[in-house]
Amino acid sequence: MNAIEPLLSVRDLRVSFALDEGLVRAVDGTSFDVMPGQVLGVVGESGCGKSVTMRAILQLIDRPGRITNGEIRFRRDDGVVDLARLEPRSAAMRDIRGAEIALIPQEPMAAFSPVHTVGDQIVEAILLHSHRWQPGKRMGRSEARDITVGLFRDVGISMPEQRIDAYSWQLSGGLRQRAMIAMALSCKPRLLIADEPTTAIDVTTQAQVLALLRDLQERYNTAIIFITHDLGVIAQMASYVVVMYLGRVMEEGPVDDIFHAPKHPYTKALLRSIPSLYGQTRVALPVISGALPHPFNRPPGCPFHPRCPDAMPRCSDAVPKLMPVPPNQFASCFLHHEEVDPA
């Protein structure tokens, strides 16, 4: 890594849900860094804890979920703040939400209230954090509206003056997601969390939205955490990749190294399961054997060992630590080192 201080630094984060059936450890000791202006890709199967991790960063974990351990250090102008220590409903946390860390949710269809116009909802976000636009001055509605029209133009919505008064269900999926991006960018955040932003829209629109995000990222130098289960999207978007499985980071590293020289058996298995244009046709696509364990029955030791082709006896006894693996990656696997994670 380089000498720049990370914008966001997550250390040993643990989030668990106390359900009637038992404790579900959705995030179980996750650590990663986001550098300023970096696009960080987070990949993993459904239920691997990637969305919960992102919710935890914004302190948006719903009951009965709770952050039980770890730090989420976020660098602001006036120093570093540990988000994990902030009360979810505190003014300090609300000051950061939307203003410094913004969220692009997964389902653009339901992410807007259907009985308020999209413009109305974006204007509200701007007014909430109006000091980011004009420090020390109150902003009027019409001014916020003008800003919203500008934002709509920025994200490539045609006829922004009319679209601003539309309801979300009057817009197409692509437009809706563009409006959502406009809202997320409305307060010039330093960090954008995009939670599978393209999963619910069709492929053509998906490509346009990705191009838009890339373009905006370059223009404003916003750091983005890009969550997806689509490795193709990661390859297009991210410069650094974190691979998660059952609430833990399996491997992380620069995108090229992850794709061309994966170290962890789970990453290798994920990459093998992508269909290739150049591969043999009419051959069954390799799948990862076994099924994702039930959240109440986490395997002991390395969470991936029951499905791992390279499992060794010790994998079921101890949890491997996330350690540097030459040349550029980090992996938590006993194939590459002997370090045990004590927790």
Binding site: L58, L60, R89, R94, D95, I96, R97, G98, A99, A102, L103, P105, Q106, E107, A110, A111, F112, S113, P114, V115, H116, Q121, E124, A125, L128, H129, Y167, W169, Q170, M180, M183
Partner: protein, 328 residues
Amino acid sequence: MTRYILQRLALLPLLMVIYSFVIFVIIQAPPGDFLTAYVATLASSGSSISQEQIEAWRAQYGLDQPMIVQYWLWVKHLAHGNFGLSLEYQRPNAELIGEQIGLTLALALFSFFLTWAIAIPAGIYSATHPRSIGDHILTVVNYVGVATPNFMLALILMWVAFAYFDVSVTGLYSPEYADAPWSWGKFLDLMAHLWLPALVLGIAGTARLSRIMRANLLDELNKPYVVTARAKGMKEWRLVLRYPVRLAFNPLISTIGWYLPMLFSGSLIVATVMNLPNIGPLLLRALVNQDMYLAGGILLIYSFLTIVGTLLSDVLLALVDPRIRVEG
């Protein structure tokens, strides 16, 4: 929107004709007519009346005509705004109903607002604090409220008020104001009496409404747009009131339509028990005595209120929910 309202209003006379016919058939359905009931009453008090006299009255009131002719006469008069004469009271029905309708409306509206003013905040509290102690207490209160018949509640409250606080809570006025002309004092006296029957009338509705509000709001609170609003950095209570409450409210608006006539007719037993001077007891008496034009007049007003109430809630719903307004 305007076109839609006009279309609905244009349907109103047709619906009223259908309702009036159904109502007339039903009040005609019991054997005998007003005079048989009248004769029975006289006989039970020991006096009698000659058969010729009865036949003369029967002819005078048109009771000897076939039903369809009687119906036609009734409707013809109704079309001219004439509700006819009460056979029992020998006074115009419009006058009889008019005397009661003011207080009936006051009671119904008061009870309606009381219901919403209690139920909505209670429902919001329960949904935002699910499975808390407060929520559990409200749940118990609600189930008791739904399960207790309101006349029973009226009797218990009357007994408690009388036995322990030595106040009589029947009627809507204290004796000294009962026949007094309207004054500030009489108004205050009315208000002092009105809240208890209003509460009794509204209690089951309140309980039901707050359960519905709780369920609706719990659903809405899990919707992604709530997360979006939270991620914007909104204050929690402002967010809840502005987004999910607003959406949880919509289905309730459609209940306003049938709520008003229900308060009207639902007050019958309570009003009889609590000796309230409203339309309930008047209708009951008219039905028992087969005072058919009075009963018909009252039932027709109920039907009218139902139709207007439904139209009203449709219009309200369209006003608050753009999804209906734009498509409709």
